[in-house]
């Protein structure tokens, strides 16, 4: 089947109607989930992940605590119905363990853990649907969940995938494309424009890598804008609700908006 589908056709369209540098739709839902301190459900194309954050709280296992900072604990679970082929992945699946470890080490330098010594922050990542760009979706959703939980971060972490078809770079790959072209994941911190995560597991020439890498860093900025709006919207809604409760009516809504914009 996949051989019948052109990854990039002569008109410059990809198999789902996007052009080379277009990312898929991103929908962010930041509503509270149960008792979690923070949560985010992120739908990126057909990839959907839910991240809930608990903490900072007292560590369950005393032996795991660190005296000078908080411990990040990432647990990842993949729903068996998330792919076309229904398959249960065990928690000890190395791929999942590795991904969880990658998420943990990505956020360790970003979360200001030194503010919470001897405590632990639990991040639970649930993958509900997969269609490519799984790691970026998890990372972006984790950023958002940490933000909603009120955990102090140095910056956003925005991740995106990129691939090279023959000689043309593509951004934000679907599963179909990931199976076909060499690809990589890049996570950037938009304010400093620094890169916190790069992974690539397929063979690619250095020159191609360079080109794609730079492009992906740029795409991170675009994703950041999207995430920023979502956080802003939620905050504005919260502030409005608070205002409505206390004063009834928000006269200086607009100003707050600007203030929020500055901070994020």
């Amino acid at each position: 089947m996949s051989s019948r589908i052109e990854i990039l056709n002569d008109g410059g369209y990809r198999s789902d109607g996007r052009k080379q540098y277009e990312l898929r739709d991103i929908t962010i839902d930041l509503t509270q989930q149960g008792t979690a301190d923070g949560s985010a459900q992120l739908t990126h194309g057909l990839t959907q992940v839910l991240v809930t954050v608990f903490g900072p709280r007292e560590a369950k296992m005393r032996s795991q605590t660190l005296h000078d900072r908080a411990v990040l604990n990432v647990e990842m679970s993949v729903a068996p119905f998330s792919t076309g082929e229904r398959r249960k992945r065990s928690r000890a699946d190395r791929r999942i363990l590795e991904m969880a470890a990658m998420i943990a080490s990505t956020f360790e330098p970003v979360v200001q853990t030194n503010l919470y010594p001897r405590s632990q922050i639990d991040i639970y990542v649930h993958v509900l649907q997969q269609d490519g760009s799984l790691l970026p979706a998890c990372i972006n959703a984790t950023t958002l969940a940490l933000v909603t939980a009120g955990v102090p971060l140095l910056d956003f972490v925005c991740a995106v995938t990129g691939g090279v078809h023959s000689t043309s770079p593509l951004l934000d790959l679907t599963t179909l494309e990931e199976n076909d072209v060499p690809h990589m994941t890049v996570a950037v911190m938009p304010r400093t424009r620094k890169v916190t995560l790069v992974t690539m597991e397929t063979r690619l020439h250095v020159e191609r890598f360079r080109e794609l890498f730079e492009l992906a860093c740029e795409a991170g900025q675009t994703i950041h804008r999207e995430m920023k709006y979502a956080v802003k919207d939620r905050t504005v809604a919260l502030v409005n609700a608070m205002d409505a409760g206390s004063k009834g009516g928000a006269a200086d809504d607009h100003d707050r908006d600007v203030v929020m914009d500055d901070r994020i």
Binding site: D25, L46, T167, T222
Partner: protein, 990 residues
């Protein structure tokens, strides 16, 4: 940095944008697949100066449409349905047919799904300069995207999508031109749906769309006559069969449904392979399948079941007791089927011809030898048709009226030039005008009620035997791209044109960057006489340490041909220069081939040099590669170089250099032979042309080989091997290499048997070295030419060499069997072979001269390019062989008009009613047939002919004399070589 954006998708759109389906994986699991698509508003309509679509600068459609169709006075655009491309591709490709056309993505995808060759033609069509074609990605435009409804077949969905797009276009046209107040609105052009599907047209009419069938559309045009013939048979309006036709008796069994075929092939019950027709016997074909060592034999028309040369078919193999040996008789279609009538042959099922066929098969069944049995079977289905356009002649006897002014439609037979194809039934109005011409015909279909396939006329090539027609038909037959180079391609040449020179030495000049200055070296080139594209030159000199420095300098084509330019893609598509006897079809524009890249003497040229340090016994001490600037001191022909070398009076540097090279070449050759390289032979003759203008062949002579030929050859081999090593080392995944696989042993069985029985000789085929040694022993002291003959026959048993990408095959299959080299590539003729250009680029990158273009890092890209080059290479060889044959025919004709031509010949095959002979002086093979009964001993490859009381025995490898003449077929005007035995016995009386 390009603009990066996020495509937003309204939540409500989910129904349209997501698609769920189930598919079965290779492992047999059923998997749910969910896909989405993004609908957009920026898919351009392609009209010039469209006010609504932003990107109209690359639009190709004139804004007012085409005004020259009388039915659509206000201008129109054509929007063809899928079935138009599936059955009327020839019409669409005709240069005369170019209304502004809109091709929908839906149509493109449907064509791609149905037939890849057609899709490729369609893609080429879209890119063609002289067509006004715009591809509209309707599935991605929000207004025109459709989803499959409950209970709707995919076909209906597509039809609906096409109609929706048509109606969108029409409303888009009116929106783009809003009426100006106070002015009457000018009539708008219409977008016309062209479809041969009656149901689709009816629905379209109901929706108020203008639509038309192809035939109606073409008939309505002013220049309809020429185009009507291009219409495929399926294009007639009455698609449902007439009652008479329905009642016709089926001549062939029905094909099994595709699913059954695929399941059968998978389960091993059926076998899949390419159908090969037998060129000696039209009632027999074979299909090599992986399941059996020998190809499956298909005997009789019914068992071949409408398969045409090259089709991929599924065959069912019969029980072993029904297995047979291939026929040892020559059955000529034309002779047997002379009386078949084109118009109504299908109505007489028990006509003479069918009876004759049955008789023939019965007779054969008895006589078939027991020994060489082959599996037999029948075709039960076609997996993929490989029909294309064929060069044919009209069979004049099949004409009902020869009145040249008659415009009535007739059904005639077209006989393909290739003996491997069946006759094609053709309906045309211009039959009388086509008699005596070469024409191009496409097969459209082959009904099971029809003995012959049906086709349609594409175009005429010219008079039979006229050089232009013969040449073009040859090029078409072998699919050689011969169009002139387009402007975009010529624009890639240096602007200085013929006046381009190597600039004065200057290290910062890009032409001189990293180049070595080798202008002082004594370099010369050695080529065949009249060679214009000199792509190699050589030098050699003694070094102070006693070793010898030898260099091969190759034209630096990659300096001029840059990747990803129109010139590069054209060269890649052509793959190779094709040499015909009187014409050369260049791969690169002549300015490069014969001037800027040609290493002409006394001119400074850019080169890519391979320089070795060789020990006196021709062992490589060191090798280096460098881009360079050279100035050749002389351009010799092989003969001149030979004479110079042998002239003891000369001892200048140039002569010494040639002697040195020759000395080394001899040692290199010895080393190569010791390693087991084969010394092969193929019948090569040379056509002597009277003068270049008239190009009338005067005579045929065999090519003469001199020592200097081998000198050049050895160094080219050495260069190719050294380069192959280097690029494979540097780019293990994508290096462009060439290999020659060892032939399977079974290929030699027949030849080994013949040799053993006839001459008592053995052929050891265990390795190339063993084969070379045993070939050397196949000598008949009385017949000096015998050894060459055996070599020619052995060569035919081998596989052909091919280009490949180093990452796509296992490392242990890199070897070149014929050259006995573990690794090989083509580097030395970049002017005329595209693979060499790629090798140049890779070598340049390997030595750090220039970065490697990204496409050469992509394994799939290299594979794709090499696949084309391999095909072109094969076709080019066949084309040049055919060209030689044509001229041999002309020469023979000229000679036989003066006196009977009698030539020595060797028997190479024996049939029950004839002999296959090889005339080495002419390099042609022919057939001697006997009309009367003769005795045939299949086991000993011998026939016995009764001649006036005594009996004469002729066996394979016997030397005979044959009379050769060219006979013109009365019906088809096709000239063909006819041979008759004149010694030891005159066969014409038999």
């Amino acid at each position: 940095m390009p603009e990066i954006s996020i495509r937003k998708r309204p939540r409500t759109e989910a129904v349209v944008t997501q698609r769920k389906f189930f598919k079965k994986t290779a492992r047999g699991k059923v998997v749910k697949v969910l896909r989405e698509r993004y609908l957009r508003d920026d898919v351009a309509c392609g009209m010039h100066s469209c006010t609504l679509c932003a990107s109209s600068q690359d639009a190709v459609l004139p804004s007012s449409g085409s005004l020259d169709h009388p039915s659509f006075p206000s201008g129109h655009f054509v929007l063809p349905d899928t079935n138009i491309f599936l059955s009327q591709m020839d019409l669409m490709e005709s240069p005369k047919f170019n209304p502004p056309t809109i091709i929908l993505q839906t149509v493109m995808e449907e064509v791609r799904h149905r037939s890849l060759p057609l899709y490729n033609r369609l893609k080429a069509l879209v890119k063609a300069d002289d067509k006004n074609i715009w591809v509209f990605y309707n599935e991605y435009r929000s207004e025109t995207a459709v989803i499959r409804e409950e209970g709707e077949s995919p076909n209906d969905r597509n039809d609906r999508g096409i109609r929706k797009a048509t109606s969108w276009y029409n409303s888009h046209l009116s929106l783009a031109r809003p009426p100006v107040r106070g002015q009457s609105r000018p009539p708008l052009p219409v977008v016309v749906l062209m479809s041969d599907d009656v149901a689709n047209r009816q629905k379209a009419e109901k929706e108020g769309l203008s639509c038309v069938s192809v035939r109606k559309y073409v008939e309505g045009r002013k220049d309809s006559n020429g185009l009507l013939d291009l219409l495929a048979a399926a294009g007639s309006d009455n698609l449902d069969p007439t009652p008479a036709a329905a009642a016709r008796q089926a001549l062939y069994p029905d094909y099994l449904p595709t699913t059954t075929l695929l399941a059968g092939v998978k389960s091993g019950r059926l076998h899949q392979g390419h159908f090969n027709a037998n060129q000696y016997n039209y009632l027999e074909g074979s299909v090599p399948v992986p399941g059996f060592e020998k190809p499956v034999l298909l005997v009789g028309r019914e068992h071949m079941n409408r398969a045409v040369q090259g089709d991929v078919v599924a065959v069912e193999v019969f029980d072993e007791k029904d297995w047979k040996a291939p026929a040892d008789e020559v059955v000529d279609q034309e002779a047997t089927l002379k009386n078949d009538d084109a118009d109504d042959s299908e109505e007489e099922t028990d006509d003479d011809e069918a009876l004759a066929e049955q008789k023939m098969l019965r007779a054969e069944a008895v006589k078939r030898a027991e020994s060489s049995k082959q599996p037999t079977g029948r075709v039960v289905g076609i997996i993929k048709r490989n029909w294309r356009s064929y060069v044919c002649h009209i069979d004049s006897t099949s004409l009902t009226s020869t009145n040249p002014t008659s415009l009535s439609q007739q059904t005639v037979f077209a006989t393909p030039v290739s003996r491997l194809l069946p006759r094609i039934r053709l309906r045309t109005r211009q039959a009388p005008a086509l008699v005596g011409q070469k024409i191009l015909v496409t097969i459209d279909r082959w009904e099971r009620t029809s003995r012959y396939p049906e086709g349609h006329f594409v175009r005429a090539l010219g008079k039979v035997q006229s050089k232009e027609a013969e040449q073009e038909s040859l090029l078409l037959e072998f699919d050689v791209p011969y169009r002139p180079f387009g402007k975009a391609i010529l624009d890639c040449l240096p602007v200085e044109g013929d006046n381009w020179v190597v600039p004065p030495k200057n290290p910062v000049d890009p032409n001189w960057k990293d180049r070595e200055d080798l202008r002082d070296l004594i370099i010369c080139s050695i080529d065949p006489p009249g060679c214009q594209d000199i792509d190699d030159a050589l030098h050699a000199r003694r070094l102070p340490n006693g070793n010898i420095e030898a260099g091969v300098h190759i034209a630096d084509v990659s300096h001029f041909v840059h990747p990803d330019t129109p010139m590069d893609s054209e060269a890649a598509a052509r793959g190779t220069t094709v040499y015909l006897v009187d014409k050369r079809i260049d791969m690169l524009p002549a300015l490069l081939g014969t001037n800027l890249c040609s290493l002409r003497p006394h001119v400074e040229r850019l080169a890519f040099s391979v320089i070795w340090e060789l020990s006196p016994d021709a062992k490589i001490v060191d090798v280096r590669f460098t881009k360079s600037v050279i100035a050749s001191k002389s351009a010799f022909t092989y003969e001149e170089a030979q004479i110079r070398k042998d002239d003891p009076g000369l001892s200048d540097e140039l002569t010494e250099s040639i002697r040195l090279l020759n000395d080394l070449a001899r040692k290199l050759r010895e080393q190569r032979m010791a390693a087991g390289a084969l010394n092969l032979a193929s019948p090569e003759v040379k056509i002597q042309l009277d003068s270049p203008e008239s190009s009338d062949p005067v005579d045929v002579e065999q090519k003469e080989l001199r020592e200097t030929n081998s000198l050049v050859e050895e160094f080219m081999l050495l260069a190719n091997i050294s380069v192959a090593r280097k690029i494979q080392e540097t780019f293990p995944q994508t290096a462009v290499l060439r290999r020659h696989l060892p032939p399977p042993r079974t290929n030699f069985e027949k030849l080994q048997d013949i040799l053993r029985r006839r001459k008592g000789m053995t052929l050891d085929v265990s390795s190339s070295g063993a084969l070379a040694a045993s070939l050397d022993k196949c000598v008949d002291p009385n017949e000096p030419a015998f050894n060459t003959l055996v070599r020619i026959m052995a060569t035919r048993c081998m596989l052909s060499a091919e280009y490949f990408c180093s990452g796509s095959v296992a490392r242990d299959t890199f070897g070149h069997y014929g050259l006995a080299s573990p690794i090989y590539t083509h580097f030395t003729s970049p002017i005329r072979r595209y693979a060499d250009v790629l090798a140049h680029r890779q070598l340049a990158a390997a030595i750090g001269y220039a970065p490697l273009h990204a496409s050469l890092h992509s394994k799939s890209h290299v594979e794709r390019v090499l696949e084309v080059v391999n095909k072109r290479h094969r076709m080019a060889q066949m084309a040049s062989r055919a060209s030689v044959e044509f001229y041999v025919g002309l020469a023979l004709k000229a000679r036989s008009s003066k006196a009977t031509v009698i030539e020595d010949a060797y028997v190479i095959r024996a049939f029950r009613n004839g002999l296959g002979v090889f005339v080495s002086r002419l390099g042609i093979e022919g057939l001697v047939t006997f009309k009367h009964e003769i005795q045939f001993d299949a086991d000993n490859y011998t026939i016995t002919v009764p001649a006036g009381g005594q009996e004469i025995t002729i066996s394979v490898f016997d030397k005979v004399k044959v009379e050769v003449e060219v006979e013109q077929d009365k019906n088809t005007q096709r000239g063909r070589v006819v041979m008759a035995l004149s010694q030891p016995i005159d066969s014409r009386s038999l």
